[in-house]
Symmetry: C2
Subunit: 253 residues, 2 copies
């Protein structure tokens, strides 16, 4: 009989409670802001010890589904899972998968050129202003010290926001976060920064013209350019070391 039985893990009390509460949330019984009973009351309700219930609350908090507050009108409250939670999850997962820079670039080239195509049709003058300001800020970044990444992230984040697809926003931001957190590569040399500003400008120009194809092309070139910069140590790449310091790695030239 070609049957496979999976090992049944002993039901842990806390896990059982976690699943019950998570289901209640995902099925709409519990709404954002709803308060769950206090540890003492809920433990009694489930007929378990306080510690077991506490562990369940901790796990649900780790999932981002609960917020737990101390104090008089404190307690456990249902919370909208925030982006940071899933970003962390992304980082945790991809850390072990350890994809190459090439894989990060590839997913970006799959998504972002198409994102700007949509942007070209939906973008408002206000959005354009935001993007222009972003580029200006990047151009005036002081050398070395500052990290381009914050402004760069903001630029791409704005674009996916304009495109208006919540799933795509999630993905683009998560991929970017994982890239930075895991590969820990941050460019700081002026030459590279200028190149980024230039390609950002090209993208914005295409968007101002409401030209989807031109915007898409500019984005493709931009991503490939950035990849090249990331792969080549030549020119100087700053790597964040374990103890938080910066190390300049010289290319083999």
């Amino acid at each position: 009989m070609g049957f496979k039985f999976e090992t049944v893990k002993a039901n842990r009390i806390s896990q059982n409670i976690v699943e019950q509460i998570r289901s209640a949330i995902l099925e709409g019984e519990l709404k954002i802001g709803d308060q769950l009973p206090s540890e003492k009351d809920f433990a009694r309700h489930f007929g378990v010890s306080k510690s077991s219930l506490r562990e369940a609350y901790r796990v649900l908090e780790a999932y981002g589904l609960l917020e737990i507050r101390q104090g008089m009108s404190g307690g456990a409250f249902v919370k909208k899972v925030d982006l940071a939670t899933i970003k962390d999850s992304f980082v945790n997962y991809l850390f072990f998968q350890n994809p190459g820079i090439r894989e990060y670039t590839q997913i970006r080239t799959f998504i972002e050129p198409q994102v700007v195509k949509i942007c070209a049709e939906k973008i408002t003058d206000q959005d354009l202003e935001f993007l222009e300001d972003n580029i200006l800020a990047m151009e005036h970044e002081p050398d070395g010290e500052a990290f381009m990444s914050d402004l760069d992230i903001a630029f791409h984040k704005k674009l996916v926001e304009i495109a208006g697809n919540k799933i795509i926003s999630l993905i683009v931001e998560s991929v970017q976060t994982a890239l930075i957190n895991i590969k820990q590569i941050v460019h700081t040399d002026r030459q590279f920064l200028t190149a980024v500003c230039d390609s950002h400008t090209k993208i914005v120009n295409a968007l101002r013209d409401r030209d989807p194809e031109k915007a898409s092309q500019a984005m493709i070139e931009h991503i490939n350019e950035v990849e090249k910069g990331m792969l080549a140590s030549k020119g100087g790449i700053m790597i964040i070391t374990e103890n938080g310091l910066l190390k300049k790695e010289q290319g083999s030239q």
Copy 2:
């Protein structure tokens, strides 16, 4: 002074420990399979109570970073975060974002057509055989009872695996899982199933010819077709209700 201070949440002991251990893993100090000290020992080492350390272990387990086993040679072991963990995270997050079907389709049309382009260049005869078997199995699915989704998921999963980008695999599978778990739409009518088999066949044929453009086109048509099927209740869509039963929702015609 245009400064914004974020509220500092009181450092919880368990959270502090969680961060320390997570950092140790993400910085490579702890490797997969490494065993952490027993609750008793580690609690003493940190100078905290056993319960605080237990809560930290629970959270890390929730992150998918630890596996905790009971028994004589049990304990806490560093584990590779598995796909299920991040899929759950995806579901939790997207449940609250609640994107429309359209958004799910859009991200698929951004990624999967390009995935099959790559497949067309890398696919092996063995892969083709797998995909053909998958289609055959789907064609022979009994009516009603069976869910197309398992085989459908397997089909698309195989494709992204062939493409060989771990990030894209993660994304495609997570999006699919979220779609099924949150929108809870599963097609069971024979007509729809046949249509899916047909478009899958078209894709495989294009892949057998190693024709990227044809494969991409077939995939685009397939995704749009599926979307149409999902949006139109006409023809019968099965919806899993809260209590696990199936409800047939008739379209407004």
